[in-house]
């Protein structure tokens, strides 16, 4: 693995760890931070966000599984 690839993979792993840590922290301290579910629920108060989030989630699954 090249240095550039290692840096990229490290960045993705760091983001993944940050997400898990933030989710756990938010569940433990709901007054200090929101969970991912709480954020999505709040963001979905807007109609455009509802449609866009559902589309992005569908596209993410289709893109990864079909490798297109």
């Amino acid at each position: 693995m090249s240095t550039a690839a290692a840096v990229t993979v490290t960045a993705y792993l760091t983001a993944a760890v940050a997400c898990v840590a933030l989710q756990l922290w938010a569940r433990r301290h709901p007054d200090r931070a929101t969970t991912l579910g709480g954020l999505v629920t709040w963001a979905m108060r807007r109609r455009a966000t509802q449609l866009a989030v559902v589309f992005v989630w569908w596209w993410f699954g289709w893109h990864l599984v079909t490798q297109r």
């Binding site: 090249s2 993705y12 999505v40 449609l51 596209w59």
Partner: protein, 212 residues
């Protein structure tokens, strides 16, 4: 459970250009338009059509819906949760059987997408309004978008660093380059599809809740 939708300022009366400009003030349409620019650079016609189509849907949908909802806590019940999970696991199993690059898989995703769109599109039919206040922002909500923006920047830098826009580079791996090999085997694809379908169902419940 507050069950009302709050019209954005004059949203029902806004037409044409006003609706479009109003949507630009929300994050969804600008993000989709930025994604469209990146996809045009990569030259993926199907993705360009899909993202462009959804951006168009947002514009078409805006005048017929009352705007934002009033509650961040829909409280929509999840009836028969174990049965739903089992049914989605079965569906994921069916979807995981064919070759992932086959037309059958594409067709199954297209059907799933059509069902999702029908469920979500139909939820805005009532277009109710009330004088309820907008939901309060959750604490430190910006932490999640901060991580998301950081990931998007890494993804964008890898795509720009690739020698050819449409060819994956092992030296500059995008997220899909890293994840796709893990989805080649049917069992892992089945688990991933199950989680994905559960996510679809969760999102639909969130959207439908505003209309319940």
């Amino acid at each position: 459970v507050p069950d009302a939708a709050v019209p954005r300022e004059g949203s029902r009366e806004r037409q044409g250009l006003g609706v479009f400009l109003g949507l630009l003030g929300e994050p969804a349409l600008p993000v989709l338009l930025l994604a469209l620019v990146a996809l045009i650079r990569r030259g993926y016609l199907l993705d360009i059509t899909l993202v462009g189509g959804v951006a168009l849907l947002l514009v078409l949908d805006a005048p017929r819906w009352a705007g934002r909802t009033a509650s961040a806590e829909p409280g929509f019940p999840a009836p028969r949760r174990p049965a739903t999970s089992a049914a989605l696991a079965l569906l994921a199993g069916v979807m995981a059987v064919p070759n992932p690059t086959s037309r059958v898989t594409d067709l199954m995703f297209a059907i799933t997408g059509a069902v999702l769109l029908a469920l979500v599109w139909g939820s805005g039919r009532s277009g109710r309004s009330s004088d309820s206040a907008a939901p309060e922002a959750p604490p430190r909500w910006w932490l999640w978008p901060a991580i998301g923006v950081a990931v998007c920047l890494v993804e964008l830098s890898t795509l720009l660093a690739q020698p050819a826009p449409r060819v994956d580079s092992p030296d500059h791996p995008s997220m899909s380059t890293l994840l796709e090999p893990g989805l080649v085997a049917a069992p892992t694809r089945w688990v991933a599809l199950w989680l994905w379908l559960l996510g679809c169902w969760w999102l639909v419940r969130r959207v439908r809740a505003w209309d319940s």
